[in-house]
Structures are given as structure tokens and as C-alpha cells.
Amino acid sequence: MYILEATKIYKSYGNKFNKQEVLKGLDIRVEKGEFVSIMGASGSGKTTLLNVLSSIDQVSQGTIKIEGKDIVSMKEKQLAEFRKRHLGFIFQEYNLLDTLTVKENVLLPLSITKTAKKDAEQKFNELATELGIYEIKDKYPNEISGGQKQRTSAARAFIHEPSIIFADEPTGALDSKSASDLLNKLQKLNQKRKATIVMVTHDPVAASFSSRVIFIKDGQIYTQLIKGEETRQTFFQHIMKTQGVLGGVQNEH
């Protein structure tokens, strides 16, 4: 069963006379427990795709179903309700509230679902230990490093056990050590908790941690790679090759 099913999605900006088509009839299916990366050059529409899939933005045409529920037809309020129960987010700029401590930031999604305090405590302890942020739980975001911030952000995305976690360039602002650290943790959480992750990235290293990579170009799917039994290293080589073919300007023949 597909946890995410998007069919023929179109997205355009501007008005009738000056239309800019960003997504042109994309089909995407994600199975439960998958770790999918979406790659593409700047302007290929990958962030727009993530925004519409995660209901932050609306499609112009097409259907998107998450766990069988059509999110395109939902009203603003229902969407918000859906987001807070079924989706988790990790952003490039961390998006932590700087007046809250690490722990308060992580527990934020639980406060809506009226989880008992004891359960919340237990969930936090587990997750924080796994992500290595337990020691800094009482610190404010401006007192910790970028990597720690992003792991906090990841913890916030996982804590309420959402159906899908959307990550937008999660390693974009991190140095390579913190980046691989974070990706290792994401991969572990994906395997251990069977959490579904959809990640947008332009970094082949980041993409090589996932189980499948979808390449988009000019608003359409160009190709996809499946990791299968390959090692991360060879998978990385494949991604690099594909990106080489994909990248750059169209040849002026």
C-alpha cells in the first residue's frame, strides 16, 4: 500500500497571461517505510514539489493522497489538523523557536495531541538519546551548534510518529561531519521506526543515504534510482553519474 500517492500534479504561478509552470504532471508514489530523496537542479521545482506534497502549498491540478486521504480537497483548517497529526517537517534553516528550549521545541507537536505528560517524557527521552541531544535539552537554540539544531528539528519531526516526514535540504546549512552524522541518524530512525521520509536535496552524498532517489527536471520526473542491495558507496557513484547526465544546460546542437 502506498502511503503517499500523487497523480498528475500541476503547479503554476502567475496569471493567465504570464504563466510560469513549475510542475508539469508529476506522478509520485511512496511506500510505507521508504526513505526517498528528490534531486534536481535549482529551479527544477523540487522545493515546490515538497511544499505541495506536504500541503503547505496548493496544486493547480491533480490529486495527492496521504494514507488514502485526499489532501487537495481539504479546507485550510482540516489541512492544519492533518499536518499536525500526520506530517513531520525538517527544514534547511532548522526553524526552531528561539524562545523555547530544545526540549520544549521537541515536545511542541505533542502538546496538540494531548499526549499524557508521562508518555511525552518517555518518548522524548528515547528519541533525544538516539539523536544525541539529551544533554542539551535545557539549552536555547542560540546556545547550540547547527548540527545540534538540526537534530533537534529532526526530533521534533519524529516525536509524534507521523505518517510521513518531509525534509527540505536538511543538510544544506551543515558542515560535512554534522551532515553525515544527521543522515546516519535519519537512516537509523527510518529503519528502526519504519518511518517514511521524503527528502529534497541537491547533495548526492545526502541522497545516497536513502533507499530511492527520484530525479526531476523542469517539473517532470526524469528518472529514478533504487538502492536495492548496493552499498552506499556504489549507490553514490550511480547518483553522481545520473546527475552528470541530468545537469547543466541543454546542449546547443
Binding site: 483548517k77 517537517f89 526553524n95 528561539d98 520544549e104 511542541l108 502538546s111 505528560k117
Partner: protein, 640 residues
């Protein structure tokens, strides 16, 4: 785009953002102009009545200028900081600082002076309303006329032009001082860090200072301070400790208390707490000075307004205490003339005569002088004495004395015990008496009681004995009560036209006199209070506009996480309840304790006038809280 177009577009955009500024500017101009118009209005002579009144109005108009100037400079300061990015951008594309300054000046000139003239117009049209209110509360029967005073216009234009120049000067300094880089970075930053031990100490100290100030204020006239010097020192101490306490409260206590609440939650905050507690905890600190000033001046305004309203409100009651009948006289001849005049006008009346003698009374056993500097000798206090025959419903045995009519203020300084032994001292003999206690009623007028002393009621035999011993003719209190209340006014007119040789007073004249003088001061304090209320409300609103911009990013995050606009709005409402509520409640508390400590010097009724004033203030103040919530609503809506 030419420079003129640029100016014009900026204007359009700014008007939408700063409508409240324009409104406040117009309003303050209107208030000032109306006030100055009153000052120059010939019909005001009736209310002023004295040089004192005119001086009060002039002082008030100076205070008005101070409030308005501080407000406008502060508001401008907020706005120029908000526009710093724009200024930086203009510099980046190669405009000189001088040119940018000229653009700003032109923009401000248009907004400022159009508001000024609209304000003058509003002020002119409302000045009649103001003068009508003034006549009404001072009880002057005059027709309010609407006269345009060129003097008032000139004064208003001069004052506000001067303020405009100050604003421009500040803008000039701001632009000159900044370089492009810093202009892009001016956006305010809040320091977020753990509550330190020092802050906790500051927090506890703040609450401690406020409480100790309140405590001493409640003891102020309780008898612990026995000399004028000590009283004065105590007042200074209260003022200092409350103001410092308020400052420390904003600096530390708020974040300390909120920190304790958060700690108790142990990381599990709901959305409302996220938006209110955690944001205020860090932000209130940086506005500590501003909030202290706003709180203190609000407290002052509420306190003064309450006090003047108390004395206005109780003017009838205190006139009753001072004058024991509708008309009180001390000369039989005078009374005869007056009665004849009443007859002639067919006004029915009743008359009451009470003989009064003065004798020294030894009150050592029942009196507790607190204030040494009053220089009274408790062993022989000169008090008026009347016989129980002249007082209905009171019958005393020859060894008993009852006191009546002791006012609250004297009671505070010279409290009497509820019973004990006293001695009446005649010329030759001393009559021991048992003191029975104190009655609230006033039987004779203030001519006899030196304004506040009680009157001693003794048995008729004792009264005669004492009178014989003193060997002097008793003075007499003649009280004339008009039976038909509707005719008191007419009787008063007759009374005022007559000439008397002895002491005489009319209760009506006394109460309307007090109403007139207290009404004027109430009007002036109310005027200043209103101006301050509006300007400080606006400043808090502008601060909130600033904050909402800073927090917009947070709203974006929260909405992405799936919180609805409704969730966020509820949180913001809680936040504004704190942001506007904390200064308001502290201001109300300050003024409550200030009024509580000395209200009896001003009148006889505390609660009704004070609560009315406080409710009114709260209602007007809340408007700004609501406006800021509306602004936040827009920001939240635009956040995703």
C-alpha cells in the same frame, strides 16, 4: 520613478501602517488645541474664579506639551528604526544622506502638518463639548459658546512646529550616524538565555520593594510616623521603593515568575504558553524602563483622578459635616432678618438653636496624640460643649459625656479611645466625667469646632454648672432648615444677598464652592490623564507592531507545523493580556495604595469614585490591547 513619486508612494504605504500614529497625532493636537482654546476663552473666567485656576490651566498646558513631545519623539524613533532597511537601500543605490534626509523630511512634513490641521479642526469643534463638560462638573450656569481663538491657533502651531523640528533633528542625527551595513542590521534582537541567579535576585528584590512600599503606605497615617519630617521621609521612601521595585519587577520578576511556571511544565508547553510566556519572558526585560515610566505615570494619573473625584464626589457630604443645617448662623439678630426674608418669600422653615460654651477638657486618658508637631496639650483641650437637652434622643446622666462629630482625618492623627475618664475644667472647679464614646452626627457647625474637633455633649445640669462657673454668655448655634427641599436654592439666593454681622454659612454654597474648585482640578487632571493614556497606549501598540514583525518567522514555523490561525490567535490574545495587563494591573495597584493611604484628607467616600475612575481607565486602555490583537491577526494570516 522621480523623487516626488517615491515620496508619494512611501506616504501611501506608511499611512496604511501607521494609521494609529496619524490618529494619535491628530488626537493630541485636538486635545491641545481644545485646551488652549479653553485657556483663552472669556467664558472661562466664571470657572477659574481665581488666579489659582488660571495658573493651574497654564501649568497643565505645559505638562500637556511635555507628554506630547515625549510621545512624538519616541514614536518617531520607533518608525525610523523600522525604516532603516529602506534608508540603507536608498544609500546603496547611490543617494546621498542629505537627499534621503530631505525625502524623509518632506514625507513627515506632509503627514505631520495635515494631521495638525485636521487635529486643529477637530479640537475646535470639540472645544464646545469640553467647555460644556467643564461647566457641568463645576456647576457653572453659563452658556457654552464656540469662539475661534486665533491666539490658540498660533500657540498650537508654534508648539507643534517646534516638536516637528525636534523630530527632524533626531532623524538627521540618526541618518548621519549610521552606515549602510548597520542600517541593514538595526532590526531588534532579543537576548535569549537562561535565567541567571542575578536575575532571580533582581526578581525577588523587585517584588520585595513593591510590597514594602505598599506596606509603609498603609502605615503612613497610622501613627508610626510622628513628625512632619518623618512623614515626609516615609513618603519619599515609598515613592522610591515602589518605583525602583516596579523597574526591577519588569527587569527580573516577570521573567523569574514565568521561568518558574515553565520549569514546572518541564518542557511540555502548549501553543498558548509558547506564544505568551516564552515570548514575554524575554521581551519585557528589554522594555523595563519604558514600562516603568508608563506604569508610574498611569498610577499617578489614576491616583490624582481618584483623589480629585473623591473630594468632588463627597463635597455634599463634607458640606453637611461642616455646616450643621441648611443655613447656619451665630447671631440672633442675623437670624431674625433672615427669617423675615424667608417669610416674605413664603418659604417654610424650621429653626434649631443650640447653646455652645467652650471649655478646656483634660483628655489625657483617652487621647493618643500621634503627631507631636500638632502642639496640642491633651491635658487641656479647648472643646465646644453642648447640653443633652438640645440633642434629641440623647439623655445622659450627670457624670457622663458623649463626643460627637469627629472627622476621619482628625481621627487618624488623634485617635480617641472608646471609653475612659475625662475632666471638664471650668474657671474654678474641675468636673470629672465618664467618657462614653464617639457619635458620627454633627450637631454644630465648623465655626465652633475649629474645623474638625469633636463636640462634647453633657447632661443639662452639668452644662449649667459649667456655664455658671465660666461666667460667660454662651454662644449660640442657629440652624435653619428649609422644609421644602426644592426651595433651598431660592433661600440660598436670599441668603447670599443679605449682609450678616456674625458667622454664617450656607450648606449649598459650601458644597457648590467645593464642587467648583475640585471640578476644575478634576477636569485638568482628567484631560492630562486622557492625553497620557492615549499616548502611552499608542506607544505600547507600536512596540507590539515591532514585536509582531520579529515574531512573524515563528508564526510561519508554527503554521507549517500545523497550528491553525485560530490556535495562534488565542496564544497572541493571552500574550497581549499579559503585555497590556501587567502594566495596567501594577499601575492600578500602585494608585490603589496611594489613594488608600491618604484619601481621607480629600473626602468622605473612597470606593465608588475610585472604582469608577479605575474602570474607566481600564476600559479606555484595553482598546489599545484589542487594536494590537487585530494587528497580530493580520501578521499571522500573512505568515504562511
Amino acid at each position: 520613478m522621480s523623487i516626488n513619486q517615491l515620496i508619494f508612494r512611501n506616504l501611501k504605504k506608511n499611512l496604511k501602517n501607521y494609521y494609529l500614529y496619524v490618529f494619535a497625532l491628530m488626537f493630541t493636537v485636538a486635545l491641545y488645541f481644545a485646551f488652549v482654546t479653553l485657556q483663552y476663552d472669556p467664558s472661562m473666567d466664571a470657572t477659574n474664579g481665581s488666579i489659582k485656576g488660571a495658573a493651574a490651566i497654564r501649568t497643565a498646558s505645559v505638562l500637556l506639551i511635555v507628554i506630547v513631545t515625549v510621545f512624538l519623539l519616541y514614536a518617531n524613533n520607533i518608525f525610523i528604526k523600522r525604516r532603516s532597511k529602506e534608508i540603507g537601500l536608498l544609500q546603496l543605490i547611490g543617494m546621498t544622506k542629505g537627499k534621503i534626509f530631505r525625502i524623509l523630511t518632506a514625507e513627515n512634513f506632509i503627514i505631520y502638518f495635515s494631521s495638525l490641521f485636521i487635529g486643529v479642526f477637530i479640537g475646535f469643534s470639540s472645544s464646545k463639548l469640553f467647555i460644556m463638560i467643564l461647566f457641568k462638573i463645576t456647576g457653572v450656569n453659563a452658556i457654552a459658546t464656540l469662539t475661534f481663538s486665533p491666539n490658540a491657533l498660533i500657540q498650537t502651531v508654534i508648539v507643534f512646529s517646534a516638536i516637528y523640528l525636534c523630530i527632524m533633528l533626531l532623524n538627521y542625527v540618526f541618518i548621519k550616524k549610521q552606515n549602510i551595513l548597520s542600517l541593514f542590521k538595526v532590526a531588534s534582537t532579543t537576548e535569549v538565555k537562561k535565567v541567571s541567579l542575578l536575575e532571580m535576585i533582581i526578581g525577588i528584590l523587585g517584588i520585595f520593594f513593591i510590597i514594602i512600599g505598599y506596606y509603609i503606605s498603609s502605615k503612613l497615617f497610622g501613627g508610626d510616623f510622628t513628625t512632619m519630617n518623618e512623614l515626609f521621609l516615609a513618603m519619599i521612601f515609598i515613592l522610591g521603593s515602589v518605583i525602583i521595585g516596579t523597574y526591577l519587577f519588569y527587569k527580573g520578576s516577570v521573567s523569574f515568575i514565568f521561568y518558574l511556571i515553565r520549569k514546572k511544565k518541564d518542557g511540555y508547553l502548549n501553543i498558548h504558553e509558547v506564544l505568551s510566556l516564552s515570548s514575554i519572558m524575554f521581551r519585557m526585560k528589554s522594555n523595563a524602563l519604558l514600562l516603568t515610566i508608563i506604569t508610574t505615570v498611569s498610577a499617578l494619573a489614576i491616583g490624582l483622578l481618584s483623589l480629585s473625584y473623591i473630594s468632588y464626589y463627597s463635597s455634599e457630604k463634607s458640606a453637611e459635616n461642616y455646616v450643621a443645617a441648611d443655613f447656619a448662623l451665630t447671631n440672633a439678630e442675623d437670624a431674625k432678618h433672615f427669617k423675615e426674608a424667608l417669610h416674605a418669600h413664603h418659604i417654610p422653615y424650621s429653626e434649631k438653636m443650640i447653646d455652645v460654651i467652650h471649655a478646656n477638657i483634660n483628655m489625657e486618658k483617652i487621647l493618643d496624640t500621634k503627631l507631636k508637631e500638632l502642639k496640642v496639650d491633651p491635658a487641656s483641650m479647648p472643646l465646644p460643649i453642648i447640653s443633652d437637652d438640645d440633642v434629641e434622643k440623647i439623655n445622659l446622666s450627670p457624670d457622663e459625656t458623649l463626643f460627637a462629630g469627629y472627622n476621619d482625618m482628625m481621627q487618624k492623627f488623634m485617635p480617641l479611645k472608646s471609653s475612659g475618664q475625662i475632666e471638664l475644667k471650668g474657671r474654678h472647679e474641675v468636673i470629672p466625667q465618664k467618657y462614653l464614646g464617639l457619635q458620627k452626627e454633627y450637631y454644630i457647625s465648623y465655626f465652633f469646632t475649629s474645623g474638625g474637633l469633636p463636640v462634647a455633649i453633657v447632661d443639662a445640669t452639668i452644662f449649667d454648672r459649667l456655664q455658671k462657673d465660666m461666667d460667660m454668655k454662651p454662644s449660640v448655634h442657629i440652624g435653619i432648615d428649609i422644609q421644602d427641599e426644592a426651595k433651598i436654592q431660592e433661600a440660598d439666593e436670599i441668603f447670599q444677598k443679605m449682609t450678616f454681622s456674625g458667622n454664617h454659612d450656607s450648606r449649598l454654597a459650601m458644597s457648590s464652592n467645593q464642587k467648583r474648585s475640585m471640578g476644575l482640578s478634576m477636569f485638568i487632571v482628567g484631560f492630562l490623564g486622557l492625553t497620557f493614556l492615549i499616548t502611552s497606549g499608542c506607544i505600547l501598540y507600536f512596540k507590539q507592531m515591532d514585536e509582531s514583525e520579529d515574531e512573524k518567522l515563528n508564526y510561519t514555523i508554527l503554521r507549517k507545523l500545523g497550528f491553525t490561525q485560530g490556535d495562534l490567535l488565542k496564544g497572541v490574545q493571552a500574550k497581549q493580556a499579559f503585555n497590556f495587563g501587567i502594566p495596567l494591573i501594577i499601575g492600578l495597584f500602585h494608585s490603589y495604595f496611594a489613594v488608600q493611604s491618604g484619601w481621607f484628607l480629600f473626602g468622605t467616600e473612597l470606593w465608588t469614585p475610585m472604582i469608577l475612575v479605575m474602570l474607566l481607565y481600564t476600559a479606555l486602555y484595553s482598546i489599545f490591547g484589542f487594536l494590537s490583537i487585530l494587528y497580530y491577526k493580520k501578521v499571522i494570516k500573512a505568515a504562511l
